[in-house]
Each structure stands twice: as structure tokens, then as C-alpha cells.
Symmetry: D2
Subunit: 335 residues, 4 copies
């Protein structure tokens, strides 16, 4: 039984707290948020301790590990504090918007043996994972192309967009990690294209894009194509296609049930897609906690580590640079 404290009680922290509380091998050791009311609501709901500071969390003997779901700017600080306190970490993405900060953190935590796990939850999705396993099992031969379609159901609030670091760092970063997970070879170059079609004014103001394509290439020539949009009217569109020399495997969208309607001139009408990440990746978030507990309790290697978080951030930076300069950017140019 691993006692995990949650730092940050926003939407995703609330979800993590509930998942930990319900997990057979974890216990919610407590919660903390800069907004005391947020922490109080969550803590009370689960009968868990409400910490008054992050320092209190790190100092507590009743906390075996921490889950960092606070604002991005605090991630590296908390990771460093956790390492100093000897507490394993499960940290939400991204590590930081600035690669410099990530590098500094990397140096500071050095070669710690503590589990530092990144919350790239899609790696734990049963469908995506089964698709990858089929590939590893040779069912599609040599992997040639990965095609990831990833579209949010609706534009995030302006306030979020303004500080998110841009689409490649706040949204695509999940797909960049997923592409790395699927490709099985290090990415050497990135070519990206960005447009402003959903909310051109907002995107213009933030120097951001809402409609993008990123193409990654590995040393061996494998390609990953990531097609993103910040707003899909039909829901949260999450598809992964692995294409190889002997076939193709697809991990498709999920729905709440298998009901179809057939009326007038429309047939096979299916239910909406599961609305957003908390529903769509519910099983994955649960498996993520399980994987973290394995690492904490049994010393199993973390399935997604600090270096994976850093690599995804590098690819995000490369994508922005590629759009800015209208050229393919080699990863070695970034870091």
C-alpha cells in the first residue's frame, strides 16, 4: 500500500486524488493546493489530510510518494524538493515550458535512483498499448509509419491558452510522447505546419496555432504523423495507426456504449465519442497509478521517466522552430 499525496487540486488533481483513493494498492495520503479551499474540498471528500504547504507534504513521514498536478511552473521545483526529501514522483506533463529549466532540474536531481515518472497517460491506454504490443509481436512486420489523430473537443479557455506555452507544448506533447513510444527508435528530425483556423484572433495574439501537423522521422527512416486540432465538433478524437511491412493495426475511438440507430436516411448512427480525457483515458489513468505503485513498491523501472519528459519537450520546441523557420529541424539543433 503506497501512501500518495497529491499536489495541486485542479481538474486533473481532483481526478488523480479519486483514483488513488479507489486504488487497491494506494492510499490518498493527503492533498495540497495553493488555493486552500480547493484542497479542502478534495481532502474532505476522501477523508484525507489537507496539507497547508508543499513543504509540509515533503516533510511528512506519512507520505510515501507525491503526485504533482499543480501549475506547470511549479513542476521542476516540486520534483527537486521531492528528490531531496527522498520521495518518488509522478509528475503531470510538461516538465516545464522552458527547456533551460528542465536542464537545470536534470542536473539538480542528477542520477537519483528514486522513481521519477511522467504522466504521459496515453501510454497506459489499453487500446494503444494492445496496438503497440501487436507491433512488438511482429504482427505488422517492420514498422514504417505511425499516424496519430488527436483533436480536442473544444478550444480551452483563453486564460489557459495564454500561458500554455503553445499547442506543441500543451497538447501535442502527449502525441509526441506517444509517437516516441510507438516508433521504437529515437526521433532525429521534426517538420511541422501550423494554422490559425479555429480562433485566429486568439492564436495570433498568443503566437500560437490551433490546427497543426507534425511529421517526425527516426534515424531508421520511420515516420510519425501527428494531426492536431484544438476543436473537433464531434468530440475528443483519439486514433493511432501503426503501419508496417506486413500490415496495419489501428487503435480507434471509444464510445460509452455500442448502440447504433437507423432512421430515415441515416443508418448506423453511433453514440458520441467519450467526451474528454478524463472519460476517454479513465482506464489509462488507473493503470498509470498502478504502474507508479509498482515502481515505488517493487523498484520496477518507471515506464515513462524524466528523460521521456525532456525528450517530448525537445520535440515540442523543435516543432515550433520548424513552423517558425519553414524547415525541417534536426533534434540535435535543440539539445
Amino acid at each position: 500500500m503506497t501512501r500518495i499525496a497529491v499536489l495541486g487540486c485542479g481538474r486533473i488533481g481532483v481526478m488523480h486524488a479519486a483514483n488513488i483513493a479507489a486504488h487497491p494498492r494506494a492510499r490518498l495520503a493527503g492533498v495540497y493546493d495553493v488555493a486552500a479551499a480547493a484542497a479542502e474540498t478534495v481532502g474532505t471528500a476522501h477523508g484525507a489530510r489537507i496539507f497547508r504547504s508543499a513543504a509540509e507534504v515533503f516533510a511528512s513521514a506519512d507520505v510515501d510518494a507525491v503526485l504533482i498536478a499543480s501549475a506547470t511552473a511549479t513542476h521542476c521545483d516540486y520534483i527537486e524538493a521531492a528528490v531531496e526529501a527522498g520521495k518518488p514522483v509522478l509528475c503531470e506533463k510538461p516538465l516545464d515550458l522552458s527547456l533551460e529549466r528542465v536542464e537545470l532540474c536534470r542536473r539538480r536531481i542528477g542520477d537519483t535512483a528514486l522513481p521519477i515518472m511522467l504522466g504521459f497517460v496515453r501510454r497506459f491506454d489499453p487500446g494503444h498499448r494492445a496496438a503497440r504490443q501487436a507491433c512488438l509481436d511482429g504482427e505488422i512486420g517492420d514498422l514504417h509509419q505511425v499516424v496519430i489523430t488527436s483533436r480536442d473537443p473544444a478550444m480551452s479557455p483563453d486564460a489557459y491558452i495564454e500561458v500554455s506555452g503553445g499547442i506543441f507544448r500543451d497538447m501535442t506533447i502527449h502525441d509526441l510522447d506517444l509517437a516516441r513510444f510507438m516508433l521504437g527508435e529515437e526521433v532525429v528530425s521534426v517538420s511541422a505546419t501550423g494554422s490559425r483556423l479555429v480562433d485566429p484572433a486568439l492564436m495570433e495574439r498568443c503566437g500560437d496555432y490551433d490546427t497543426t501537423v507534425a511529421v517526425l522521422t527516426t534515424a531508421g527512416g520511420r515516420q510519425a504523423v501527428i494531426v492536431n486540432s484544438r476543436a473537433a465538433a464531434y468530440g475528443y478524437d483519439q486514433r493511432v495507426e501503426l503501419f508496417g511491412s506486413k500490415g496495419m493495426v489501428l487503435s480507434g475511438n471509444r464510445r460509452r456504449n455500442e448502440v447504433t440507430k437507423h432512421v430515415g436516411s441515416a443508418t448506423n448512427v453511433s453514440t458520441p465519442l467519450l467526451h474528454f480525457f478524463i472519460e476517454r483515458y479513465a482506464a489509462a489513468f488507473d493503470a498509470e497509478i498502478g504502474s507508479f505503485v509498482d515502481a515505488v513498491e517493487n523498484g520496477a523501472p518507471v515506464e515513462v521517466g524524466f528523460e521521456d519528459g525532456r525528450a517530448a519537450s525537445i520535440l515540442a520546441d523543435a516543432a515550433f522552430k520548424s513552423v517558425d523557420e519553414g524547415r525541417t529541424v534536426r533534434v540535435s539543433e535543440i539539445a
Copy 2:
């Protein structure tokens, strides 16, 4: 090149005439209809001879074979005349509404070696045929159950219903033949249920049903379930399911294209089903002509013969008797 004359220029006769005219191994030898104008339209369209009587057709040296698509009451007369004239026959279903007339015809044509083929077109549908082949190839082990869903897109005109002989004889008869084709064993009993839900007044007046289920059993215990309705708002629903000891094979509905729409809360919205039999079974009607030409030119055995037509009519009678008497009817009670 087989020269085929078409008797009867209603909707299905017009279609057959066009199929024959376009067939690489057949030629439209001419057309006849009691309504001279109908024959003239079709004949002119294809540059084919317009016969002034059925007798003229049977007497013509330029006619190698006849396709009977006239009113049901004329089928047996024409078959007998064709046999007398030594001309092979492809006859639309049913042979006759009266089993007595069918028996008389059977005696009259005796053991003719001429091809007498029945137009049970569904046997020639590529999908249904591939499903059956999978079964014959042992892919689903021993066959246990056949489930046929067969629903017309809309109620036929009153005038048709009034003289059709009832749903089992005008509509289910195709499914009864298809069930026999799939079952691979003779049917020994029939249990049917009939309701009046689409147009109760009309059905009541005609002593007919518009919503029915028929369950057939073979000597070996195999079951076929036929689910019918005279009116499906979403189109012409034609599905066949073969279930066996090692698996199941389904032949599903067909659509004009593979386009799906995903908008708002409805996803995977597919195009309507192919509207009705002429579109849905276009490939089957074409293959049927080819099969008939094979029988005429090469002496290949007809794939669906007079005895198949008689057997389906017997099952239709058994179905009506089953509904009337509220019991399972043994086929041996009918004939």
C-alpha cells in the same frame, strides 16, 4: 450467345430486359406484355423485337429461351407452353399462389430435360454466397442456426397486396428459399407468427400479416429464423447470419458508398441502405442471367429448379397454416 425473350414488362421485366441486353453472353430476343404499350417502350429502348402474343414468342425460331416476369397467374401456363415449345425457362417467383396449380404444372412438364430455373435471386448475391461458401468450407463448423432479417423499405401498393397471396407467398418466399439454400438439409417443420402493425386495416381486409417471424427446423435439428416486416423506415434491410459450432458468418447490408459523417453528438453516420431489390441485388440479378445462360448453353444443371420453387411454396403454405392454427406444422402435412 443465348437469345432470351422477356414475357412481362413490369418493373422487374424491364430490369431483366436491360440486364439481358447488357449481358456479354445473352441477347434480348424480344419482349411481350399484355399491355402492348409497356412492351413497346422496353423493346424500342433496346432495339428488340416487340411480340404481339406469348404464342408468337414460343413459336419464334429466334428465341432460344424465355424469361417469365409476367403476372403470377400466368407463370405455370407459360412454363408449360415453353416446355412444349422446347424453350428453357427462367421464371420469376412464385410458381403460383396455388399449390394445386403447381402440382398440375409439375405433372404436365414431367421429367423434361429442359432447364427450368426459378428466379430466387438472393442465392446469387455475392455476399450471401460467400457466407454460404464459408459454411461449406467448414469455417464455422457444423451449422446450427440461420437467422435471416428481411424487411422491405415500404408497404407495397394496396392493389399488389390484395392479390399477392399474402406475405409468406409474396415476400417471405425469397427468405424461405434462401433458408433452404443455407440450411443444407430439408426443412421438416414450420412455426410462424403473424401480426398486423404496419397497416392493420389493410392486413385485416386481406387476411394477411405485415410483421412476421417464421422458424424452420430440419430433420437434423438445424433452425432457421426469418424475421420479416413489410416496412422498414431506414430502408431495405437484408441480413443473413449463419451460426455454427466453430463460429459465425454474417452477410450484412450494403450501402452506395463508404462515407461516414461525424457531427455534433452523432458519429459514424452512414449512408442509407441500397433502396430496394433492384439496386441491392443488382449483382445477383446479373449473376442469375449468367447462371441461366450456363444452363442453356452448356447443359449445366440449373442452380435453382422447379422443385426449389415448389418447396418454397410448400413452406409458405405451411407458414400460413401455422399462424392460422397456432401450432408447428410439419411440411409433410402440406405435400
Copy 3:
């Protein structure tokens, strides 16, 4: 928080105990089984009390309600004891193999105001429920036909079959209840067909069938077709089709994920169906507990009551009588 004790710790009792233990509004008050070891295993796993007799359960002040998952022959005894003790009941199907025993129980419990709920879990399946709701909402117009396909993944053990009461009472009974739930009108007649194809020797010995079709008709003429097999090589096949004057709604099979494979000549290869009822109806079993808690805590009417259990048993008897006598049996003949 409703404290529920579980009577019977076989496969389904074990599952119910776990569901109750995990339910946010229920607590596992204890477990009992005639085999003390079985109760001990389950009780220990959940840190719940292990009762030494059923009487002890009914007498306990710490038990708010009971879930009966013991052998069928004990169901009515336990229901009667629970009513006497003033404890609400959630009872697994069927009430009893004998309608006489059911009638006796009915008289004994009289017009108790206590919630007596039957475990017809399929009513709580999100897909089946959404299909029914679409029908109630008028999306398919007037309901005409219900088609239920229900096939077990494999034959149950001989020992189970020998005392199960026969396919209509042990397996179809779920579909009979589901048909009633969907039809929205009382069933007035049953016509059933039974074959012995999966294990003819066993079926012969038990006077049972493994391959059946049952057709139910309501007073208004609505039809329900239930297609059953005791062994489907491709898994647990659970489909419901509702057909009405304006369209059709289907509740289809469920799979563990949405992965498809495309290799060589086979495309769109999907994963197996969820294996059996515990997986397939996991969400439904959970919702069932919630519904029972609602009835216990808030006095909400039970969604599936004693009369529903009795009605399904009557239909099962009618189905056997129909097969035996080769005729349509009116429900009024049975009870």
C-alpha cells in the same frame, strides 16, 4: 450507506460481494455460505463478517438488506425469511424452478412493502438501457419487433446443466425478462423451438435443449424473438434489436478495446467479445447495486420486482410447454 449481507459465495456471490464492497453507497455487512470455507475466503478478502448460518444473517441488527446468490432451491426460503425479518432483498434469478413454489412464496410474502428486487442484470446494461430509452423517446416510432441474440461462450458443466431446470429456466430467463422490459406490453403467447446440437447426449439425458428460438407475442401484436445457443465459439454474444415504425436501434456486442488489425487478406479484425457475463455486464451489475440501494434508502420502487421474476418463470414454463406440444402456448394457460 446500506449494509448488505451476501448469502451464497459461488462465482456470482463472490462478484456481488466485491461490487458491494467497492460501492460508494453500500457496505459489505458480511457473507454466508453452506460451505464455510467459501464464505471465509470472501469475508476475509473484504474484511467482512463471516456468518455461520443464514438465520444469523437475518437476525443481525448490522444487516440492512440481503443479496441472495445461493442455490436456486433456497431462494424462496430466504426471501420469506428476509421478509419476516424486515430486510429488503436483492435475489438472483430464478425465483425457483417450480412455479408452485413461487406461488407459495408470493402468498407468504403477501403485499409486503419491503423492496424485493430480482437480479435481472441486463436491464441495467447501459447499452440495452439506452436502446430502450430511444424507443421510449419515440425515436423508432411504435415498437414492432424485438430481436434478442443471446449465446453463451461455452456449455456449462454437466453438473450445472443437470439441475438447472433447462435452458429456458436457467439461461433464456434473462432474455425473457429483457424482452418484457423492451416490449412495454404484457406477453400473451409463446412459441418455442428446441434442438440438441451442441451436446446431444447430455441434452437428451436431461430432457433439455442447447439451441433454441422463442417467439413471444403481446396483446397488441408486438413480437419478440429470442435466439439462444449454449455455446458460441467466438464468445459471449449479446445483442438486442428494437424495430419500430420509424426505425431501428441496436445494442451491440462489447469488446475490451477498439483495436483492429489489417493483415494479408483479413481486414478489420477486431478483438474478442468480452468473455462472459461478469465482464460483459460489469457496469450493469454495478448499476444494479445502485438501484437496489436507491430502493432501500429512498423507498424508490424496485426496478425489477417479484412479479417480474414470476412473469419470467411463467414464460420459461410456457416455452418448455410450447416445445413439448409443438404449438403456441398462451400465457394464461400457465398461470
Copy 4:
């Protein structure tokens, strides 16, 4: 009735000759091939004239129009000769491997009023066309992204690859035209990525690629992603996805029938994709002839003209330049 002569009797010329011969509004006026035997086979099969030279075709008063299906290097010569002879042209893609030759041809034919149609057959596919129409009808709002997946079933013969002009000119060119057809705005830039994974040695020798991604951007910011492979083990993969502000429409792969198999642990096993372009685009090739006849007989504007052929060739050149230089290439750099 338009009398069309076919120049070039290779695989695609043979198909076109048969389509013309079977078309209700066209007649096969004759055939020509540098290999006399090839022409003789086709001509004899259809009872059509066998021309001994291209000049003879252009001079014939019995030829209303020509279909050019000869070697790519002859396309522009024949177009020029046809224009001089006053005969409308339907020309297979591409116009030429060299843009200079295309420009020269363009100057030579000047502003001829004769129909000069390009054989970009995918524009005539009923599915792709219905998808585009849904977009034009506003069903998906403003178009944001077009995703085209286009994979050949197997690597073409070495001899073809060696002279094909490279993947963007021989294969992607169809997708480039389809993207233009769907985008509804002119493409202003191209960013392409190429790998050698299917047959690295051959690709290396020819300076070509077998696995590519091309991203096109319009002036308005719309994006088209084209994912190509020269060899898909599961068949000819042809999918088009249109994504807009209000939804998405997909035109999917087609199969010969709607049969699915469910055995052991594999469910929903579908039949192979239609094998290659002649089968997959059969309806489109037929519609293409009809569209050409409309242009010839009624003076309807050609649906795909010389400028479309030139535009696609420019995009193909831009794609190669993009791969070579590792940067996004503006179309204005090419022509």
C-alpha cells in the same frame, strides 16, 4: 454517341477501351499501340478498328475524340496533335515528367476551346465525391484539414519505378490532385518527407522514396496531409478525411462484399479491400468517361483540365524539392 479512339493498349488502356465499348453514350472508334500485337488483341476483342499509327487516328473522320493512355513521354505530343486535328482529349496522368515540356505544350495548345481533360479518376469516385459534396453543403462547416491515406498494395515492377519520375510524380500525383479538389483553395506551400523502407536498394538507386508524407497549405491556412506507401500488405488503402469546424466526413475503403466472420478469438473479420485501382475505382473510371462525353457532346466544361494536370505536376516537383532541401517549398518557387 461519341466515338473515342484509345492510344496505348497497356493495362489502363485495355480497361479504358472496355469501358468505352460498354458505355451507353460512347463507342470505341479504334485502338492504337506502338506494339501492334497489343492493339490487335484489344481491337479484336471489341470488334474495333486497329490503327497502324497515331497519325492515322488523328486523321480519321470516324474518330470524335481520343483517350491517351500511352507512355508518359508521348502525352504532350499526342495532346498537341489532337488539338491540331481538332479532337478532344482525355489524357492519363501525368502530363509529362518535365514541367518544361508541360509549359511548352501549354503554349502550343494556347487557348484552345477543345475539351482537354486529365484522367484524375479519383475525383469521380462516388464516395470521395459524396464526401466533398457534404463539405460543400456546409455539413462540416469551414474546412480545416484534409487527410488522405493512399497506399498501393505492392511495389510496382523495377522497370516501372526506374522511369516513373519518382513517387510524387507517379503515385502521389493522384493524391495531390485529390487534395486540390477537396481543399477548395489554391495550395501555396508544400512540405514533404521521404523514406526508403520497402525496397531501400531500389529507391536508393532511383533517387526515389517508397514511404512519404506531404503536407500542403493553402493561402487560407487549410492543410492537406497525404500519407503514402508503395506497399500495403493488406491491400489498396484509399481513405479521405475532411475535417471542419462543424464535423468530419470520411470516405472509407471499399470491399467486395459485406461479409464478416467471427471465429475463435477474432471477430468482425472482414474481406480484403478491393485489390487495386481498376477494381477500387471501377465506378469512377466509368463516371470519368461519362463526364468526358458530356464535355465533348454538350460543351460542358471539363471537370479536370490541363491546368489541373499542370498544377499537380508543380506540386509533385515542389514535394521533391522539399524533401531534397529539408524545407517547406512555396509553390511560387516552382512555377
